[in-house]
Symmetry: none
Subunit: 223 residues, 4 copies
DNA sequence: TATGAATGAGGCTTCATTCAT
DNA sequence: CATGAATGAAGCCTCATTCAT
């Protein structure tokens, strides 16, 4: 009855307010885009009033930036740790990285963030630069390491790692985007497992060092 | 006879108005998104006043839909014609399709449209369905035809064409999106030619039928 | 074939333009009110283009005033002539005036004008004053003359003619307004003949001098 | 205890906002018509800003409908209660109804509403139907009851009640309309008391059953 | 005369932001 | 901390009016 320690459930909720707001904002920003998202809807979805939002964020733009920043970094850290600790063949690493990346990302907010940054990068150049450096550059670097390591160890044939990294990442990113855009209106939805299996299949065959005789067709294309 | 029926420069402008407005709208919608684009800016960029826009389009939404529709269909038609008329190996067809698609698309508005639809599909479900059926389904079908044809002719090994089609298309789409989003803020820009060469390289190696002995790598994937 | 005398049908149409525009404007102003009427609709209904309207009228307001003025005066003249030339009992004159007024007015524009002035008098004080003086004052005076004449001749009992005139005119005006307002949405429409018969019945009984036996005046009404 | 739970003057204002807005809107709609009334003016007259209006009403049209509905029904209820509870002669009831109706209506918004509906019924068919059924039909029914009751009790002569009801109501309605339209610009304004006295006089003489001697009931009404 | 494309002021409506409680 | 009523700037859209042909 004293005021020494209040209701703990209440206490926790107060601590969580910013997180709840960020989560609500993420959903709505992803669903509708920055401009079409109303702060009142964000507040309502977080279970607070419109005014409360301004106790935690300065403005709509500031909320948007917080949403992006707070959802990005943890995931990247995790992925890099996975690559660093890996033991085994490069093909296997590639396979695991892709699969685990998807597992980690599939039901997180990163899919939405990716789409969001794609859509709004034009309106928030500063944020776009931040995203590029913190996410894209690091993801790319990870993939380059895998490729170069594989080539150095003779597991992969010689390819242009700088270009190939983006080619291999692209289908993963597209899978993330698909969920957030046309997924809902596709008649035959993508099966992520089959899709990723095909990607890995293509990569491993496509990067594989050993080729039997007679595969001379490609030479002409590769210059 | 030369000036008998004068072709007034005014007359031509009138005919071109819708096109000019569509072009201006495309630029701005792509740059800023649907909601953040002001019709007055569209009009100004097209060299007319705000009201003039409404002589040609019923509303902002109607303008948006027209932008999407008018930019999409011609390119798809062209691509399908290319596939239909192709003579030669499947690998070569794949290569040509990718390269020419990019050539056709690079300097058209289709890159922007793709990004736009990605960003706004949630706000325009009807348009998203239209886009999905008229563009995505058709593109996918084209790629499936190529893959299945290649497999039937023994040029490609057996793969899951339904999944693989999207894997192969993904890097092309990503290239288009890149241009419209992070391209401008990337320090080391993508070189489309190298990127596409890597994609084709990966595909042709990855789909190639003939493998020498000892390609036991795949077994591990099915694990 | 020469150009001496053009197509007479065409010539006539040109002369009629203002009338056609006034007629179209009357319909629409009455139907929708001044502000809600678009000049483009007026022009279209008159079979000309929007610009043409400005060859004949300076502005929307000027068109509105012309509509009112051009439809009012002729009708009043006719009514006054009828009263001036009347011979017979006052009761009969009252009956004839009411019936003929309705006949003359029922399918003319005056019903609409009346409603229009009722609605817009606040927005056009100058026009309202004009209407009041040219229509209302003259109508009232007509009715006062009939009443005073009837009283002077001993046919009507003594009443306050100044007040009674408006009481008697009111039902006629309401009949005009009804057509233009709730008439279309009434389930059981007013039968003008029965309505006016009741009005005349009420007036003649209500004004009748003799209450003793021998008030045979009414018999003529049932005629 | 007095200031324990302070009843802030602010709180009361909040509750009253809708009423204040409705009152302001009524004035302006009546004065200028629906289309010519600007919501900013309504808000200003109610002492709030433009946006505040939308906290209470969805749209201009919704505000308009609320104005009509909120002003109409109470008065009708009151009038019907008066008729239901009446004791005395039918002539007296008629007299009282007319006089009290005017008293109740004269300083309320109903005069304006009547004019407003007359003017705007064409633009709001749904509202017009509502008004017709809730106001006109009920008013008419009230008058028919009085007439039929009077006839049944031998106080009134036999008349066509269906037509007569509208004839008797018409002058009352016209008095309301006059106030809102030409009243302000008439040189010799109507004196409502004299006008209504004439109406009652006409009705009672016009409906009176007995034409023989001894019909002295009316005399008391006529002063 | 007649056209109809073009204009731009003005009104309705939304919503990010503020602030008294 | 929390609320939600209030604000007012800004954008979409309409339409009276103009003007080159």
């Amino acid at each position: 009855m004293s005021e020494a320690h209040k209701e703990p459930r209440w206490e926790r909720r107060k601590q969580d307010r910013p997180q709840e707001l960020l989560a609500a904002a993420l959903q709505l920003f992803v669903e509708r885009g920055f401009a079409a998202t109303r702060l009142e809807d964000v507040a309502t979805r977080a279970g607070v009033s419109k005014g409360t939002l301004y106790l935690y964020f300065d403005s709509k733009e500031s909320l948007f930036k917080s949403v992006v920043r707070s959802n990005m970094l943890p995931l990247l850290d995790e992925a890099e740790a996975m690559v660093d600790g890996h033991q085994g063949s490069s093909a296997e690493l590639l396979r695991q990285l892709i699969m685990r990346w998807w597992e980690a990302v599939a039901h997180s907010g990163l899919c939405g963030i990716t789409k969001l940054m794609m859509a709004e990068s034009g309106n928030f150049p500063e944020l776009a630069r931040f995203y590029h450096e913190e996410i894209i550059v690091r993801s790319d670097a990870m993939m380059v390491r895998i490729l170069q390591n594989g080539m150095a160890r003779g597991e992969f044939r010689q390819v242009d790692a700088e270009s190939m990294k983006k080619v291999i990442i692209a289908p993963v990113v597209m899978l993330m985007l698909w969920d957030q855009s046309f997924g809902p209106c596709a008649i035959s939805p993508i099966d992520p497992q089959a899709y990723l299996a095909s990607l890995i299949d293509l990569c491993i065959h496509g990067l594989n060092q050993s080729h039997g005789p007679g595969d001379d067709t490609q030479k002409s294309h590769n210059k």
